[in-house]
C-alpha cells in the first residue's frame, strides 16, 4: 500500500514546519488532505500515565478546541495524547496524530482503533516511511513535528522529566505560545507543568485562552432550556469544585435516585463529566450565567 507523501519545498508541505531548524525532508500521510496541516492547530501533550484529572482536562479541552475549529495535534500515545484525540473526535473536530514510527504501524496497539477513527477526517503523519518500527530514540524527534505543526502547545500533565516537556521546549524555540495546565503542587504528575508555569509558560485556565492565541472564537456550551429542575440545582455546587454524590446530596438535599437521573442528564448535555465516582463541571462554572 502506498501513502501520499509531502516533500519539503514542494506545494502542500506545511508552512509552519519550515520554521524548524531541521524540518523533516518528507512527511508520510494516512487519511485527510495535506492542506489539513495548514489549518490553525494546537498541540495537546502530556503524561502517558495521567490522572483522571489530566485525562478529563485533555478530553474537554480538545472537545472545545475541536468544536471551535482548531486542529488538535498530538502523538497518539496512551494517556493525555489519546484523550486529546478522542475529545476532538467527540466534538466532530479534526485531529492529527504524529507518530515516531511508520504510519502503518498502529503504535501503541491499544490505539489502533483510535487511529482508524482519526484518519476518517484527520490524519496520521510521520517522517518515517511505512514499516519503520517504533523505538524510543525516535520519539523526541517526533515531538519536534508535534510542536512544529501547532501554533500553540498545551502541556496537560507531565512529570519532571517528561517527553511532553521536550515538545514544550521545541515550541519555545520556535517562539510559539506554550500553555501549561496547573495541577496540585503535591502531585508528581503536575511537577513538570507547574515548573513550566514558573518558567513563564501561560497557565491554562480555560479553552478560551488557547483560542485567543489562535484568533478563534469559542463556542460556549449552552445550558439547554429543557434541563430539569434537579439538574439545574446540581450545577451550582458543581461549578465550585468536583463533588461526590454524597456531598451533592448533603448540599442540595436531593434523593440519590433523583441525583443520579439529573447527573446523567448533565452528562448527556456535556456539562458534567464523571471519573472515579467524582463529578466535575466541564465548563469550570464559566458558562453558567
Amino acid at each position: 500500500m502506498t501513502y501520499p507523501v509531502v516533500s519539503r519545498g514542494r506545494p502542500g508541505y506545511p508552512a509552519l514546519l519550515q520554521e524548524l531548524h531541521d524540518p523533516p525532508p518528507r512527511l508520510y500521510l494516512r487519511g485527510g488532505p495535506a492542506d489539513l496541516l495548514d489549518l490553525p492547530a494546537v498541540a495537546i501533550v502530556g503524561a502517558r500515565s495521567c490522572s483522571a484529572y489530566g485525562a478529563q482536562v485533555a478530553r474537554e479541552l480538545a472537545r472545545e478546541l475541536g468544536a471551535a475549529g482548531a486542529v488538535v495535534v498530538s502523538g497518539l500515545a496512551r494517556g493525555v495524547d489519546g484523550e486529546a484525540h478522542r475529545g476532538a473526535l467527540a466534538a466532530g473536530g479534526l485531529t492529527v496524530a504524529v507518530l515516531g514510527c511508520g504510519i502503518d504501524r498502529d503504535y501503541p496497539r491499544a490505539h489502533a482503533q483510535l487511529a482508524g477513527r482519526i484518519v476518517e477526517s484527520g490524519a496520521v503523519v510521520s517522517e518515517y516511511p511505512p514499516g519503520v518500527e517504533p523505538s524510543p530514540w525516535r520519539f523526541p524527534a517526533r515531538n519536534r513535528i508535534v510542536a512544529g505543526l501547532a501554533r500553540a502547545t498545551v502541556v496537560v500533565e507531565a512529570r519532571e522529566r517528561s517527553g511532553a516537556l521536550i515538545t514544550a521546549d521545541f515550541a519555545l524555540e520556535l517562539g510559539r505560545e506554550v500553555f501549561a495546565v496547573p495541577g496540585e503542587i503535591t502531585s508528581a504528575l503536575s511537577a513538570g507543568t507547574n515548573d513550566l508555569i514558573r518558567q513563564g509558560a501561560t497557565p491554562l485556565l480555560t479553552a478560551t485562552d488557547v483560542l485567543e492565541a489562535l484568533g478563534l472564537e469559542r463556542s460556549p456550551p449552552r445550558v439547554p432550556d429543557t434541563l430539569s429542575g434537579g439538574a439545574r440545582t446540581l450545577l451550582a455546587p458543581l461549578s465550585e469544585t468536583a463533588r461526590t454524590l454524597d456531598e451533592l446530596g448533603r448540599l442540595t438535599g436531593l434523593e440519590s435516585a433523583a441525583m443520579a437521573a439529573a447527573l446523567t442528564e448533565l452528562e448527556l448535555a456535556g456539562l458534567v463529566a464523571a471519573a472515579d465516582g467524582v463529578y466535575r463541571s466541564t465548563t469550570g462554572g464559566r458558562s453558567m450565567a
Binding site: 483522571a52 494517556g79 454524597d246 440519590s256 443520579a260 437521573a261
Partner: protein
C-alpha cells in the same frame, strides 16, 4: 440366605434407587462388597462389622457377599453403611426381611453403632417417596431434612434402635417439621455510613436481581455493602427454598440446625478458588459456589484477583442460569441463578480514586488490570458503581436506613417485576437512543440499561418506564475508566 434393603445413590441433584443385597453362604467367614463401591463405600465393611458388634447383635460367621445393584452405577460415600448393616442383619434373620423391604435407609455408622448424618438426605428421601416407599430410616439429625421431602422419617440414633424398630420393639419419637429460621440475621444496612449512590444501586440490584459491580479504593465499604445484599432480598418461596435446600444438602453444607434454607443464600468464595470449586465439578459432579448461591448472592470480592478461567467460566451460568458439568463419571445440571456482586479497586495499588494518595501503577499494569475483566464479563454487570472515598463529614453522619425498610420497598417491586416488566415510554425510548449516540454504549449495554430502568420504575411504582428512570439507570453503566 438372602435379604434386601433399599437406598439411593446421588447423581448430581438426582437420586437413583440402589438395592443392597446381602447373601450369606456356608464357607470360610469372609465379607465382600461388590457393585462399584468407591473407597469410602468399601470401608463400610469395617464400620458395619464394628457397628453390629456394638449394637450387641451378632455378626454372622458366614461367607457374606453384599451386592449394590445396579452394579454399573458408581456408589460413593458412607451413606450405604446403614442399609448394608440392615441387609446383613435381615439375611441372618436378626430383623424381619419383609419389614425392612418396606423402608428406604440411609446413614453412616460410627464404630460404636451410632448413626451419623450424610449429604443429600432430602434428595434420597424424595426419590424414596416417588418410588412409593413411605418411611425412611435415617440418622436422627437428618430427620427434619428428610421430613421436608414429604416422607415419614424414622429418626435413629443407634443401629440397635434400628434393629429394635424393625422388630417392632421401639417406636421413634415423632419428628417436628422444620420451623422457619428466625436466628442468624444478616448484617444490617444501617451500619453503612454515606455511600448513598451505592446503597441505591444495592436496592435496585435486590429488586430486579441485577448483577452489581462496586469499584473504588480500599476502605470505602464495598465489601461491607455487598454483604448486606442478602438481607434486603425478598424471602424465598417454599418451592425455591426446597430447591436451594436440595443443592446445599447434596453439597453437604446444610447445617443440621437449619434444615430448610428459606432465606437467600450468600456465598463468598476466596479469590484463589479453582474453576471446579466455583462452577462445580469433580470426578463425581458436585455443585460449585455458583449453585450454592442459587436464588441468593455470589460475592466475588476483589474480582480481578480471581483466576481468569474462573471469571470466564462464570459467563455461561450468568447467561443461562444453570451449569452443566460433564465428567467421565457422569453429567449433571445444577441450577445457578444468582445475583453476582463483584468488588474491585480501580487499579492494582488501590490508590486510584483516592484524592489523598497517589497511584503508583504503571500504564502497563493498569492495562493488564483492565484486561483481566473481559469486555464480555463487564457486559454482564447491569449496575456498576464507582465508590469514592467518603469525606469525613459523611462518616460522621447518623446511621443510614436499615435493611428492613429497604426490603419492604424491594419486595413489592420484585413482585411487580415477576409479572411483566413495565414497558418503555416514548420519551424514555428517545432518551435511550440519544444515550447510545452520545455515550460509549453497546447494543448489549442498551438492553441492560432498559432492564435496570424497568426495575427503577417498579421501585417507583410506575406503570411505564419514564425518562427519569432511564436517566438513573444510565448512571450505573460501566464508567469510561473501566470500559477501556
Amino acid at each position: 440366605m438372602l435379604a434386601r434393603a433399599v437406598t439411593h445413590a446421588l447423581v448430581g441433584l438426582e437420586a437413583r434407587p440402589v438395592e443392597v443385597e446381602a447373601h450369606l453362604q456356608r464357607g470360610v467367614p469372609a465379607f465382600a462388597i461388590v457393585g462399584l463401591p468407591d473407597k469410602a463405600c468399601q470401608e463400610a465393611k469395617e464400620r458395619v462389622r464394628s457397628g453390629i458388634a456394638s449394637a450387641e447383635l451378632e455378626w454372622p460367621l458366614r461367607r457374606i457377599t453384599v451386592n449394590l445393584a445396579p452394579a454399573g452405577l458408581r456408589k460413593e460415600g458412607s451413606g450405604y453403611d446403614l442399609p448394608i448393616a440392615l441387609a446383613v442383619l435381615a439375611a441372618s434373620r436378626q430383623v424381619p426381611p419383609e419389614r425392612l423391604a418396606e423402608h428406604a435407609a440411609v446413614g453412616e455408622l460410627a464404630l460404636d453403632g451410632r448413626l451419623r448424618p450424610v449429604a443429600g438426605i432430602i434428595v434420597a428421601a424424595e426419590a424414596a417417596r416417588r418410588a412409593g416407599l413411605t418411611r425412611l430410616l435415617c440418622p436422627f439429625e437428618s430427620a427434619p431434612e428428610a421430613a421436608l421431602a414429604g416422607i415419614e422419617p424414622v429418626p435413629l440414633r443407634h443401629l440397635a434402635e434400628a434393629g429394635a424398630y424393625l422388630r417392632g420393639r421401639f417406636e421413634p419419637e415423632p419428628v417436628e417439621p422444620a420451623a422457619p429460621s428466625t436466628n442468624g440475621s444478616w448484617p444490617d444496612l444501617a451500619e453503612v455510613r454515606g455511600q448513598e449512590r451505592a446503597r441505591r444501586a444495592l436496592e435496585i440490584a435486590a429488586a430486579g436481581r441485577h448483577n452489581l459491580l462496586l469499584a473504588g479504593p480500599p476502605g470505602t465499604g464495598k465489601t461491607m455493602l455487598a454483604r448486606r445484599l442478602p438481607g434486603i432480598l425478598p424471602a424465598l418461596t417454599l418451592d425455591e427454598a426446597l430447591e436451594v435446600t436440595r443443592i446445599h444438602s447434596v453439597a453437604g453444607v446444610l447445617p443440621a440446625s437449619r434444615p430448610l434454607v428459606d432465606r437467600p443464600p450468600f456465598r463468598a468464595p476466596h479469590h484463589t478458588a479453582s474453576t471446579a470449586a466455583v462452577v462445580g465439578g469433580g470426578p463425581r459432579p458436585r455443585p460449585g459456589e455458583v449453585s450454592l448461591a442459587h436464588r441468593g448472592v455470589l460475592l466475588l470480592d476483589e474480582l480481578p484477583e480471581f483466576h481468569r478461567p474462573v471469571l470466564e467460566a462464570l459467563r455461561q451460568p450468568l447467561e443461562d442460569g444453570v451449569v452443566a458439568v460433564s465428567r467421565v463419571g457422569g453429567m449433571a445440571v445444577f441450577p445457578a441463578r444468582f445475583v453476582l456482586v463483584g468488588t474491585m479497586n480501580l487499579c492494582p495499588c488501590g490508590a486510584r480514586g483516592d484524592p489523598r494518595v497517589e497511584c503508583t501503577c504503571s500504564q502497563q499494569k493498569l492495562a493488564a488490570y483492565a484486561a483481566k475483566l473481559s469486555r464480555a464479563l463487564l457486559d454482564r454487570f447491569d449496575l456498576v458503581v464507582t465508590m469514592p472515598r467518603p469525606r469525613g463529614r459523611e462518616l460522621d453522619a447518623p446511621p443510614g436506613e436499615g435493611s428492613t425498610p429497604v426490603r419492604e420497598r424491594v419486595e413489592p417491586a420484585a413482585e411487580a417485576l415477576r409479572g411483566s416488566r413495565p414497558p418503555l415510554g416514548d420519551e424514555a425510548r428517545a432518551l435511550l437512543t440519544r444515550a447510545v449516540d452520545t455515550l460509549p454504549l453497546s447494543a448489549r449495554g442498551r438492553a441492560r440499561v432498559a432492564r435496570s430502568a424497568a426495575t427503577v420504575a417498579a421501585l417507583a411504582g410506575a406503570a411505564t418506564v419514564e425518562t427519569a428512570h432511564v436517566a438513573e439507570a444510565l448512571s450505573y453503566r460501566p464508567p469510561q475508566e473501566l470500559a477501556t
